[in-house]
């Protein structure tokens, strides 16, 4: 039958890209996009839309691509998403929109993400910018954090005429989009910076190098600096470690540190001052997107790169595309393996990692089969770098310095999903700071919900 296969997307060849930081996926060109768009059946009850956390009118925008009216397609995307160029690249589509697409029942689902990316890139190349508010309403709102949650909240509020200032702790805006997700998946100059510039072009002010809770508190913003409301989009940036012996050895990093050095500080480039660990063999502990990013970064920096994960391939939480790309590039997967100790040499450097083999037992509370250690199966893997990618939790800096802001036992800020409203009057929150580490699209959506909540609050 015709149309079972998706139009293949051009990618850098695995061998070539494993040695550079250029974007892996080159995206569709116009003809390819139109051809792929034609595979969409324009379902009356589109299942794909149910799979998208922000319910983008998927058949709507794809229909416009078929017509070649990319500007109209971009308008439709913009109605539901403020970061389509990002989400088209990093959304876990296989478990969201594309996972539900009817085409996927028999053959490949429509490449919704790649089409979204094509339209967003087209809009950028053709200079389409979001529209500035006609009138300012004079009300000041502070947004904490410039990740997807903060950027989308600020963008919406500015479009409605608010005077918005984003406060960012780091020296560059973008949150995880800048410091975490590597260049080869999400180019900074071509994709992230223009998104930030778009938000600024709406009149949003950006103050970097300001740590809320340290440089200034939320109460001071509200009481002394004239802000009428605050949105907290501070993410979930605290890295976890395993607590095994040897973890403080030289050469053991959190994925956050490793990726921050490479992405934010550009340590991988010779003319930047921050040093980057050089390693021959790196072991990355974990199986999520973050682990894949660290493994593929280590590989590009010249290391033999191993993923050590305690469950099996089916349970890898990373996006399927990332696992696939990592394998193609030569990342080695040591599955059903769990580290028990990091081995060091007499100078305090990592020389290896002692692991134990695991097998899958009964399903646990999450429904996934619980890994159990196989007694007596310990063995050593040689390594001169170990990168811990075990997840992150929200930083308590803000909650601990803001009286009346409730958090749950995981240190996540408690906020209503539809409005971002917290326990403190005038303070709204969303994104990873509320949910714990999640996804770009959910953070973006939470930012927009927070903007709505603030708008209602200040319109009363």
């Amino acid at each position: 039958m015709e149309g079972l296969k998706r139009v293949p997307v051009r990618e850098q060849a695995p061998k070539v890209r494993a040695a550079n930081f250029e974007e892996v996926c080159l995206g569709y060109n116009q003809e390819e996009a139109v051809e792929e768009a034609k595979r969409c059946l324009q379902c009356k009850k589109p299942l794909c839309v149910q799979g998208c956390p922000v319910a983008i009118d998927i058949p709507g925008f794809i229909g416009k691509v078929v017509e070649g009216d990319f500007a109209a397609a971009y308008q439709i995307l913009s109605d539901s998403s403020s970061l389509p160029a990002v989400c088209g690249r990093v959304c876990p589509q296989e478990s969201q929109c594309e996972g539900k697409c009817i085409r996927g029942k028999k053959g490949d689902p429509v490449s919704i993400g790649k089409l979204e990316r094509f339209v967003a890139d087209w809009a950028k190349e053709n200079g389409i910018k979001p529209k500035k508010a006609d009138k300012q309403n004079g009300k000041k709102v502070a947004v904490i954090g410039s990740g997807p949650a903060g950027l989308s909240c600020a963008g919406d509020l500015a479009k409605w005429g608010y005077d918005v200032t984003i406060f960012e702790a780091l020296h560059e805006p973008g949150g995880v989009l800048t410091y975490g997700i590597p260049e080869f998946r999400l180019p900074k100059d071509a994709v992230v910076k223009p998104e930030v510039e778009n938000v600024k072009s709406l009149g949003v002010k950006l103050e970097t190098d300001v740590i809320i809770g340290k440089s200034v508190t939320i109460d001071e913003l509200l009481d002394e600096e004239g802000f009428s409301a605050v949105f907290v989009g501070s993410g979930a940036g605290l890295p976890m470690f395993m607590g095994i012996p040897g973890e403080n050895a030289n050469g053991v990093f959190s994925a956050n540190e490793y990726l921050t050095r490479s992405n934010l500080m550009k340590a991988r480039l010779d003319d930047y001052a921050t040093p980057m660990p050089v390693s021959k063999k790196a072991v990355i502990v974990g199986g999520g997107n973050v682990a894949m990013d660290a493994a593929r970064t280590a590989l590009r920096l010249g290391a033999e790169s191993h993923i050590v994960y305690r469950r099996s391939e089916a349970e890898l939480p990373a996006r399927a595309e990332e696992v696939h790309h990592a394998k193609e590039e030569g990342v080695i997967f040591d599955l059903l393996t769990n580290p028990v100790e990091i081995l060091t040499d007499d100078k305090g450097w990592v020389r290896g990692i002692r692991c134990i083999r695991m097998e899958l037992g009964e399903p646990d509370a999450s429904g996934r089969r619980r890994p159990v250690a196989i007694e007596g199966s310990e063995f050593e893997i040689e390594a001169d770098a170990v990168i811990m990618s075990l997840g992150t939790s929200p930083n308590p800096l803000i909650s601990s310095t803001t009286a009346g802001l409730d958090v749950n036992k995981r240190k996540c800020i408690v906020a209503e999903a539809e409005t971002g409203k917290t326990s403190k009057e005038g303070v709204y929150a969303g994104g990873d700071a509320v949910t714990g580490a999640a996804t770009v699209i959910l953070a973006m959506e939470a930012g927009r919900a927070g903007a709505k909540g603030i708008h209602e609050f200040l319109s009363k």
Partner: protein, 295 residues
């Protein structure tokens, strides 16, 4: 951009700067630090707050050029700017946050080693302004490396200056002075030691023997300074702490200094290379006299 209003060479290898940074100046407390970055390609360098002027909106930093970045800083003059200057980071010294009446009851000894004199100063000054006179030992290798002596004299109870080579003040390392003072009949309830890690380690060994609780200010390698990377982790007792958010001040008797010193040397060879590149690529006019960044 954060403008440098004053840049002074305090000693042959120690530089003081006043930097305009209104938010930091307004919020900072003794014991805290900032992170500074020179330009687009610069690294994030943590430095302790050595003084601040809330009215003028300035923060004072004092640093020792030891690697490529700090050498570059040392070449800056009043009127130049840093691209980034963020803070205050870390927790204030507990002396300034604990109940003042309790603090007043204590006999406190500060021990400053080399450039560590700078971070000691605001704490001693704060105590002085709150009616507490603390004793201070300032030590350096040799006379020309003693800094901030007059400033310190104004705020300290007793000031004891010492040099390793005996070229000025008492003679011998700071640890010897601690022992001497106690032998001379001085009693202390608390010691605060700030300086190179090796000096803090030996101070702690000494004060442990003498039974004096001791606070140290740790200076591990850092990246973000906000708790996001874990580069600054230390073992304190049987816990792992992040110096940038849980510290930088800790109970010195609980710190695993040997681990901390190994971690601090992690980039030694690489940084040595960066320093060489910087020095060869630029006319080096820091006037430091010794270019062994790898010391």
């Amino acid at each position: 951009m954060f403008k440098i209003l004053r840049a002074e060479h305090l000693a042959e290898n120690i530089v003081l700067m006043d930097v305009e940074a209104k938010r930091v100046a307004k919020a900072c407390q003794p014991g805290q630090f900032i992170i500074v970055r020179l330009d687009e390609k610069g690294e994030r360098i943590p430095l302790t707050i050595a003084d601040y002027d809330r009215e003028k909106g300035t923060v004072t930093i004092v640093f020792q050029p030891i690697g490529a970045s700090t050498y570059q800083f040392a070449n800056l003059k009043a009127g130049d700017s840093f691209m980034d200057f963020v803070g205050p980071l870390g927790r204030p010294s507990e002396l300034t946050t604990d109940d003042l009446e309790e603090v007043k009851k204590k006999k406190i000894l500060f021990v400053a080693g080399g450039v560590g004199t700078a971070p000691v100063y605001p704490q001693v000054k704060w105590l002085h302004e709150h009616g507490i006179d603390a004793d201070v030992i300032v030590g350096a290798k040799t006379k020309s490396l003693i800094i901030m002596e007059d400033m310190m004299k104004e705020v300290a109870g007793n000031l004891y200056v010492t040099t390793d080579d005996g070229s000025y003040g008492r003679s011998g390392m700071v640890t010897k002075v601690i022992e001497d003072l106690v032998a001379e009949g001085k009693q202390y309830d608390l010691c605060v030691a700030i300086g190179p890690m090796i000096m803090m380690k030996f101070c702690c060994l000494t004060t442990k023997k003498l039974g004096i609780p001791t606070i140290v200010s740790m200076n591990p390698i850092m990246v973000d300074g906000t708790g996001m990377c874990g580069a600054c982790r230390l073992t304190v007792g049987d816990e792992v702490k992040f110096a940038c958010v849980d510290g930088p001040e800790f109970d010195g008797h609980k710190i695993n200094f040997d681990e901390a010193m190994k971690r601090q040397a992690m980039y030694k060879t690489e940084e040595g290379r960066a320093l060489l590149k910087f020095q060869e690529g630029d006319t080096h006019h820091g006037g430091c006299g010794h270019c062994g960044g790898d010391k």
